[in-house]
C-alpha cells in the first residue's frame, strides 16, 4: 500500500519534471537570438525533409478521403433527396475537421517519428555532444531548424490536403455519380465561409503542427541513448502526438463554435 502511494508520487513528479524539461527546450528554441543567415538554409532543409517528403502520403490520403466522404455522403443524402448538398457536406467536413486532424496524424507518423528517431540517434551516438565540443550549439544547428520546419510545413500540408480532398469529392460526385458540376460548386460556395471554415481549419493545423513537432523534438532529445530508448521515443512520439491532436481538436472546435 505504502509503496504504491510512493510510486504514484514518483510518477507524478517524473511527469511534471518531463513537462518542465519540454518547456525549457521550447524556451531555448524560441527565445534566443535568431541567426537568419545560418538558420534559414537549415530550416529549408527541414521543410524539405518534413514537408516535401510527406507530400505523397498527404496527397494520396487526401484524394481517397475526399472520395470516400463523397461516396458515403451521396448515399445518405440521396435518401432525403438532397444529393445536391454533397459539395457543402464534403467541403465543410474536410476544411473544418478532417483536413487538419488527418494531416496532423499522418504528419506525426511520417515526419514526427523520423525527427524523434534522428535526434535520438544523434544523441545516442554522441553527435550532439561532439557538436558542443566544436562550439556549435546543437539547439542552433539541430533542434531549432527541425522545429521551425515542422511548424511551417504542417499548415501548408493541410491546405494541400483540403484542396486535394475536395477535388476527390468532385471526381466522385460529378464525374462518377453524375451530379451537376455547377450546382456542386455553387452550393459549396454558398455555405462555406473563408474565414469561419477555411481559416479556422488552418489555425487548427498551425496549433497541431506546433504540438506535434514539439513532442517529436522533445521525445528525441530526451530519449535514453540506447536502441530501446530510441524505439520508445518514436513510439511515444506517435502515441502522444495523436492523443494531443485529438484532444486539442475537441478544445479548439469548442472554442471556435462557441465564439471565444
Amino acid at each position: 500500500m505504502f509503496t504504491q502511494i510512493t510510486l504514484l508520487g514518483r510518477w507524478g513528479i517524473d511527469t511534471l519534471q518531463e513537462l518542465g524539461r519540454a518547456g525549457v527546450l521550447l524556451f531555448r528554441v524560441l527565445f534566443r537570438f535568431p541567426n537568419l543567415k545560418k538558420g534559414f538554409p537549415l530550416t529549408l532543409q527541414q521543410i524539405y525533409a518534413e514537408g516535401v517528403l510527406s507530400l505523397l502520403i498527404i496527397v494520396v490520403s487526401g484524394l481517397f478521403i475526399g472520395m470516400v466522404v463523397a461516396l458515403q455522403g451521396y448515399h445518405t443524402l440521396e435518401k432525403f433527396g438532397a444529393a445536391q448538398q454533397l459539395g457543402p457536406l464534403v467541403a465543410l467536413s474536410v476544411t473544418r475537421e478532417l483536413g487538419p486532424v488527418v494531416t496532423a496524424l499522418l504528419f506525426a507518423g511520417r515526419a514526427g517519428s523520423a525527427v524523434a528517431a534522428e535526434i535520438g540517434l544523434m544523441k545516442a551516438t554522441e553527435q550532439l555532444s561532439s557538436m558542443e565540443m566544436m562550439a556549435v550549439d546543437p539547439m542552433h544547428r539541430v533542434i531549432a531548424p527541425r522545429m521551425w520546419g515542422g511548424f511551417f510545413s504542417m499548415p501548408m500540408l493541410t491546405i494541400i490536403f483540403n484542396a486535394v480532398a475536395i477535388y476527390g469529392a468532385y471526381l466522385i460526385g460529378v464525374k462518377w455519380l453524375g451530379l451537376d458540376g455547377g450546382a456542386f460548386w455553387s452550393n459549396m460556395r454558398d455555405s462555406v465561409d473563408f474565414h469561419l471554415d477555411v481559416m479556422n481549419g488552418v489555425i487548427k493545423s498551425v496549433v497541431f503542427g506546433f504540438v506535434v513537432i514539439w513532442i517529436s523534438v522533445f521525445q528525441g532529445y530526451s530519449a535514453p541513448p540506447t536502441s530501446a530508448g530510441i524505439a520508445g521515443a518514436t513510439t511515444r512520439t506517435v502515441v502522444y502526438s495523436s492523443l494531443a491532436v485529438l484532444g486539442l481538436d475537441f478544445i479548439l472546435t469548442a472554442m471556435m463554435i462557441g465564439d471565444w
Binding site: P41, L44, V52, A91, M156, I159, A163, R189
Partner: protein
Amino acid sequence: MLSQRTIESFVGLFLLMTIIALSVLAFKVSGLTSFFQPIGYNVSAEFDEIGQLKVRSPVKIGGVVVGEVSSISLDPVSFKAIVKMHIDSNYKEIPNDSSAGILTAGLLGDNYIAINPMYSQSFLKNGDTLTDTHSAMILEKLIGQMIYKLENGGKNSDKSDKGDADSSHSKDINHEKN
C-alpha cells in the same frame, strides 16, 4: 544528400502548390469576395424587424443578386434596425423611390433583401436611404395570428375548411400519381 539548390527549389515548388491550393480554397470553394470589395455604392434602409438577416446576406432585384448587406445596427432612438447595403456599380440606375423588403429563400431558407424598383427618374446614389421598407415575416408570429383567428372566429367554418383542405390534398396525391 541533395544539394542545397535542389532542396530550395523543391521547397519553392511546395510553397507554390500551397498558394495554388489556398487560392482554390478561397475562390472556388468558399467564394471569397471580401478581400477585394467590388466597386459600388452604399445604400441604407430602416426596418422594424429584420428576422434572420445577416451581414453578407444577398441583396436582389427580381431574384438577381446585385449586392450584399454590409452592416446591421440598431437606431438607439427609434429602435429600428439600420441595414447598410453595398450595391454593385453595374446596377447604377435603381430608381430612388424603390421599396425594400426582407424575404426568405424557400420556406426555411436564409433571409435576403429584395428591392422592388419603382418609376422615379432619379436614381439611388451613395449614402441614400430607402424609406419604403417591408419588415421580415416571422413565421411564428404568422402562426400565432392564425391560431388566434381560428380560435376566435372560424369555429363555424372550421369543418368546411378542413373538408376543402382534405379534398385538395387528395387531389394533389392523385395528381402525383398521374
